[in-house]
Amino acid sequence: MKALIDYLKDIFFGLKTLWAGMRITGRYFISPGEIVTQKYPENRDQLIMFDRYKGEVIMPHDGNNQHRCTGCGICQMNCPNGSIEIVTRKEITPEGKEFRVIDKHIYHLDMCSFCALCVKTCPSNALAFGHDFENAVFDKAKLIKILNKPGSSILKDVK
């Protein structure tokens, strides 16, 4: 007799726990307000990244097409993956002094792991993180970027 009662208890307890789960899924089913999906390409305008979002490494240029990079190579040295290559050239000042100017700051977005070591160690704060997150391309070569814009020069006050 006790076995029979246990048997029936098992069934009722089991059905009760099943109902508890179904209540939760049922409640979500009838409450569309809980939907968390974002319709991505349509909501591009509302999508605002956080200030500190790390989308890609960029080199900010001011209105006169001037940046702060001296081409010292510290970012290249600190990068764990070798995703930064710096090509410099020598220029001569009017006084006849030779100094180093950045020719190309090549940045491999495909290898970058966003560790922020380049941005942090840069002595002249020439690098920053951009907010662009739509980095998908069909050609891997497009992920290799030259950060300094063509014809840009270094700001006067940067040492």
Partner: protein, 375 residues
Amino acid sequence: MQEEIVKNIILGEDDDYIINVGPQHPSTHGVLRFEVSLQGETIKKVVPHCGYIHRGIEKMCERDTYPQIIHLTDRMDYLSAHMNNEAVCLCVEKALEVEVPERVTYIRTILDELNRIASHQLWWSAMGMDMGALTTFFYGLRDREKILDIFEESFGTRLIQSVNAPGGLMQDIHTGFQKRIKEFIRYFRKKLPEYDQLLTGNVIFRERTEGIAKLSLEDAIQYGVTGPSGRASGFSCDIRKIEPYGTYPKVDFKEILHTEGDTITRYKVRIEEMYESMNILEQLVDNIPAGDYSAKMKAVLRLPVGEFYQRVETARGELGVYIVSDGNKSPYRIKFRAPNFSNLFIISKLAVGYKIADLIAISGSLDLVIPDIDR
């Protein structure tokens, strides 16, 4: 002789019915292969094969400087990325005898616990999915998103924070950090009981997990099964209690210990740890002291000659970092005692005699992260 070998390769040792669970399989959560010998549906033998994503992180570390190493450790157990980072940082700080500001220890501990909750949420999602309840996957990820938003606001990245540096943090927390954590705790305290109703209490789930794959305390210690899986068997292995680091000595929390050691206990320990982590967060979040976010460090770090060992509790168990330094800016040898590596091999003992569906549940309850095994 050679024919025999060929025959053995084709047929297995005898005429076992061998199926390969993995390396490409919906429930191995990564590229791991279980070679399973079956008799009907009952498992006779499980042999784990790993190495599909062995990247040689330890070798790579030997050529990198210490700040660079930290960002490689993210890629081991990517779900406890911050704990991995912290382990290396603590080890380097211990070697250099640097005193980190108190603010840093607080923030690191908060991030630890946030990471632990996020990791357990993902584990819960995946565990439910392994058992066939696909809906849990979405509920778990929905709640995990809130934590990732906290990370993103403060540090700009979501899964791996990349915020640790020897001596402190790379950047300070955002002003909204505390508010968001409090919001999250309020939200998650409401949602966590739903997890119990949906899965823990469910009669099908209980039937499938109760009494399955009991791990005894002796075996847990023998195999070095740590973390929630070990604590479910009564193995008191919480490094936060044994060798406290960060702010843990100042926090009042209890180590979740159970003794049954079956699949559902391993499950319960993680659920209870989520509650406990929220308790820790509540104690810390309002008390973050003001101050610097990093100690003054040299530009090039060179560790003194010697060897240093640091134990840290990640979401999956004990992580050990063993650095042998010869005085250079790169370590001479670095060894990561990965929690998942030790936790994996118990499966060939646990799963024997159970059904193939149980194997999936067991590997789900061990919460394996494959890149951490292979490194």
